[in-house]
Subunit: 343 residues, 2 copies
């Protein structure tokens, strides 16, 4: 394994005082990059995800073209339901759909939970290839969807503003819901462990829909499974948890085994530090829409954000995925502003 030439991200997660924070962007390998769009025109979604050479090429694009301090593997959270035997359709510009949803015990029993990491070997191959191609330039991030967020898709069958079918499933059949969440958790732990063995220097768990849950329901249906994953994977590599919208969970999660917590832009840096008690590395939280602002304003607000969080225990990032309509030079301005901090 090559020694990392840029290990800022790992040093931020271990709590070192740095002269400037590391920076990467959620969904940085994707839709706003013209070279990605060219590949999208040639190969369908799951071909891009399942072909290690394509996933590697897409993963490296923002490292080469935008100058981020970390690579995050190009993949999708729905590879887990797929590996568990569910059909996942991905229509360009329409979001995912799962035509056969989980409704009852029989559906749950039909899910595959063994050898899923073998079925996801294309992810491991992509990680190993990307790690080799990076040649130590920056760390490589692996990831998975959180159990609650995967349940949302596996029960609702598609994206939703409210995921009320998924919530109804949890509220009316809580035992079945917990059994499903546990199955997803078990598979995810094996998956993330395999990712670290294959080359991921750290992993992030995306709980994109946790903010739809009340604080009490988050503690019931989301938090226990996030913690199981963090506890199981942390001995192998640092874990960042990103429960989007669940600002209320910061005090609890700050006392967990996770090395970092992602936060969205509904919190000021001061609020986030107050809630998390300065004990854990925070990651975020630039409003993705702000990258549509003029470049001087982006640079000014990035500086204010870092002033707010400080350079210790902090990773500069967006508060959610980069939008497809962001000009590449605006994304670069965001990254440059972080790199210029303190100069």
């Amino acid at each position: 394994m090559s020694v990392l030439k840029n290990d800022l991200l790992l040093r931020a997660l271990s709590g070192e005082e740095l002269s400037r924070p590391p920076v990467w962007m959620m969904r940085q390998a994707g839709r706003y990059l013209p070279d990605y769009i060219k590949l999208r025109q040639k190969y369908d979604f799951f071909t891009r995800v399942q072909t290690p050479e394509l996933a590697c090429e897409i993963t490296l694009q923002p490292v080469d073209q935008v100058g981020v301090d970390a690579a995050i593997l190009f993949s999708d959270i729905l590879v887990i339901p797929q590996a568990m035997g569910m059909t996942v359709l991905m229509e360009e510009g329409k979001g995912p759909s799962l035509p056969e949803v989980i409704k009852n015990q029989a559906d749950l029993d039909a899910l595959i939970t063994t050898e899923t990491e073998e079925r996801l070997d294309y992810v491991m191959k992509a990680l190993t290839l990307t790690k080799s191609e990076l040649n130590g330039r920056v760390p490589l991030i692996g990831f998975a969807g959180a159990p609650w967020t995967l349940l949302c898709y596996m029960v609702e069958g598609k994206g939703s503003k409210t995921f009320d079918k998924a919530k109804q499933f949890c509220f009316t059949q809580p035992e079945l819901a917990h059994a499903l969440l546990q199955k997803i958790t078990d598979v995810t732990i094996k998956y993330l462990k395999a990712q670290t063995a294959a080359g991921a220097d750290l992993v992030q768990v995306f709980d994109s829909w946790s903010g739809l849950l009340s604080p009490a329901d988050f503690k019931t249906f989301a938090q226990p499974y996030l913690l199981q994953i963090s506890n199981a994977v942390s001995p192998l590599a640092p874990v960042i948890l990103f429960p989007k919208g669940s600002w209320y969970a910061l005090p609890d999660l700050a006392n967990s085994s996770a090395a970092g917590l992602g936060i969205d832009w509904s919190l000021t840096p001061a609020m986030a530090r107050q809630m998390s008690g300065n004990k854990i590395t925070l990651q975020g939280n630039f409003d993705p829409s702000k990258l549509l602002a003029p470049i001087p304003q982006i640079k000014k607000e990035v500086k204010e954000m870092i002033d707010g969080f400080g350079t210790k225990h902090y990773i500069a990032n967006l508060g959610h995925g980069i939008l497809p309509n962001v000009p590449v030079d605006h994304a670069r301005a965001f990254v440059d502003a972080v790199k210029e901090y303190g100069q």
Copy 2:
């Protein structure tokens, strides 16, 4: 004007200690009620909104059939952009669309800001008729969309997960954005004043998309206009502000002229009380999806909610609009649980 037989809602807003809180539900006049669906099959959306007899009939349905402690006029927040001269299309089940959006100064100049309350006279007629038909049974709530939320639709042209076009407009043309927000505010103040004259006992301002803004941007693009409206209308009738998702604004808004603040279910009652300092009436915050749970669970959680908020300075409600797929007896169980509190 008839004397109110049930004035619980007004007494909660004025801070009286009550034996149980008043209860109503956002969107209570609407899609989950079979009698509403029958009218929807006969009359299109704007016919229902613009015909005082139909709006009155729909407004009374939940008072008669679900037993809420207040009526809220059946109408829509987009009647304001419409009265300002914009085309608003409402396709059943697809959400609103505004084919000609605001892009520049000329679009702004073309907006009508005079005699808008005369153009909205059908709303005043509906309020007066409903007030008369209610005959003092319960208070009548008028409402409007907040300027930021209306800007979202007037610039984006349709619903959106991120409203990034609207945000881009604000971030790249802030002076134009503020001019638009001020025009909407001026029209809204006249509109809400006319509503109180026509029979509304109180009014609510819905900032449905304020939670998409960072705390700093909320203070720039949402809060000043909410406060202008509250300051102008409060001398005539109590004002409830509902900036959905903007929990971070509670401390500031608790010190405003508003009589009440709506909150969503991302806060526990204790968090909400802590942030608002026990000075203002809070309204909410039952997860609308929870009405899909079994009735005993609904009743249990309603009791816990009221235990948390207390019976002073509190209005029981959902944290957002009732979902169309909620069974009527579940809605009734929610209302009954509030009424049974303390018995």
